[in-house]
Amino acid sequence: MEVIHPTDLDEALAALAAHPEAVLLAGGTDLMVEVNFDQIRPEKVILLRRLAELQDVSRQRIGAGVTFRRLESGDHQALAQLARTIGSPQIRAAGTLGGNIGTASPAGDALPFLAGLDAEIELSSKDGTRRVRWDRFFLGVKQTALRPGELITAVILPTDLPDCQEFAKIGQRSAMVISIASACVFRWRDGRTRVAMGSVGPTPIRARQAEEMMSAESNPGPAALQEFARLVSEEVRPISDHRGTADYRRHASGVLARRLLERCLAK
């Protein structure tokens, strides 16, 4: 196995251009499971863990190499909330935002956050940088728009951030679970509401009818909340698997989204 240990981002991008087939290693929490179970035998590895350029965090731009441990205490409430639900302390100290995005699991816990905020993924290669909005980036189960020679370098968030953001997920225990369903709800003071659901479709799902309906409600009562939950349940596209049935996920999606919205309304 050939190991490439770039000391800065330019070196990493040059290495990736020369070896587009190389495996990228940051936190290792996904890759090393495959390695340990002999599902993958990397021939070339590019080490990213210590690249300083991927560690920068500002309000609008979060470096791809930032670990969930760091995000636990960040500016964005829903991002901090979801970071705290990921794996265990050991996993959060290693796993990165960029890794969660690159793996593009339907259950990736950061994905609803990105979807709800219409975040862009910053992709860099030797030839430059482009930004791809989440819905053009996540193409299917573990399928993304990342091209050979490209590296996820950051997440770009909009300047118009919501006044309330809430995340929650459902799993069998509160640690080390893969989400059965997850939800991010965002609400602005002017009523604008966004809902993004995870683990209930191949890619994150925006419940746009529920958003439209709730954005017109300045002081929603029980009937509006019930209709909101119903619309969310209708808009998700879950499957049945060993973690939960499609029916359960559909029901849980509405309950989760409604509960998070209620938290925002109570503020």
Binding site: M1, T29, V33, F37, V45, R49, A94
Partner: protein, 151 residues
């Protein structure tokens, strides 16, 4: 590939064959068998070590990626004496088969270093990544709780 790193304060080196984990290298190349291999997927915490100041599962660290790093394993925790966490677990009889113990010891020692007075809930939350296959959590948690506030 030759990997040079600091383990428990000492400069150590080993040759890797490929993509083996830091856990494998610690146990097989450096003969530090305190860290245990069980699930090999970051679920159980029995391989917990401190890598450059972060508590991680050494089974999920590629050994070559630890080059130049500082690693603390259970063997390096107490020096010539037992670490307070180890003493506390002995006193509360918190060891059944013992396989999870090194991981719990490293994780708990790290928690007590980071947080001065963790509540019982904090301790449960922070040790969520360590699994005891004997389900002996009661004694483990009681042992760790006896140390709170003693630092």
């Amino acid at each position: 590939m030759r990997v040079q790193l600091t383990v428990n304060g000492e400069s150590r080196s080993f040759d890797t064959k490929g993509s083996e984990s830091l856990l494998f290298a610690l146990r097989e190349y450096l003969r530090l068998t305190g860290s245990k291999g069980a699930c090999e997927q970051g679920e159980c915490g029995s391989c917990s070590v401190v890598l450059d100041g972060n508590l991680v599962c050494s089974c999920l660290v590629m050994a070559v990626d630890a080059a130049g790093s500082e690693v603390l394993t259970v063997e390096g925790l107490g020096g010539s004496e037992l670490h307070p966490v180890q003493k506390a677990l002995i006193e509360t009889g918190a060891v059944q088969c013992g396989f999870c113990t090194p991981g719990f010891v490293v994780a708990a020692a790290e928690l007590l270093k980071e947080t001065l007075s963790p509540s019982p809930e904090d301790i449960r939350e922070e040790l969520a990544g360590n699994i005891c296959r004997c389900t002996g959590y009661g004694a483990i948690l009681r042992g760790i709780e006896t140390l709170v506030g003693e630092a």
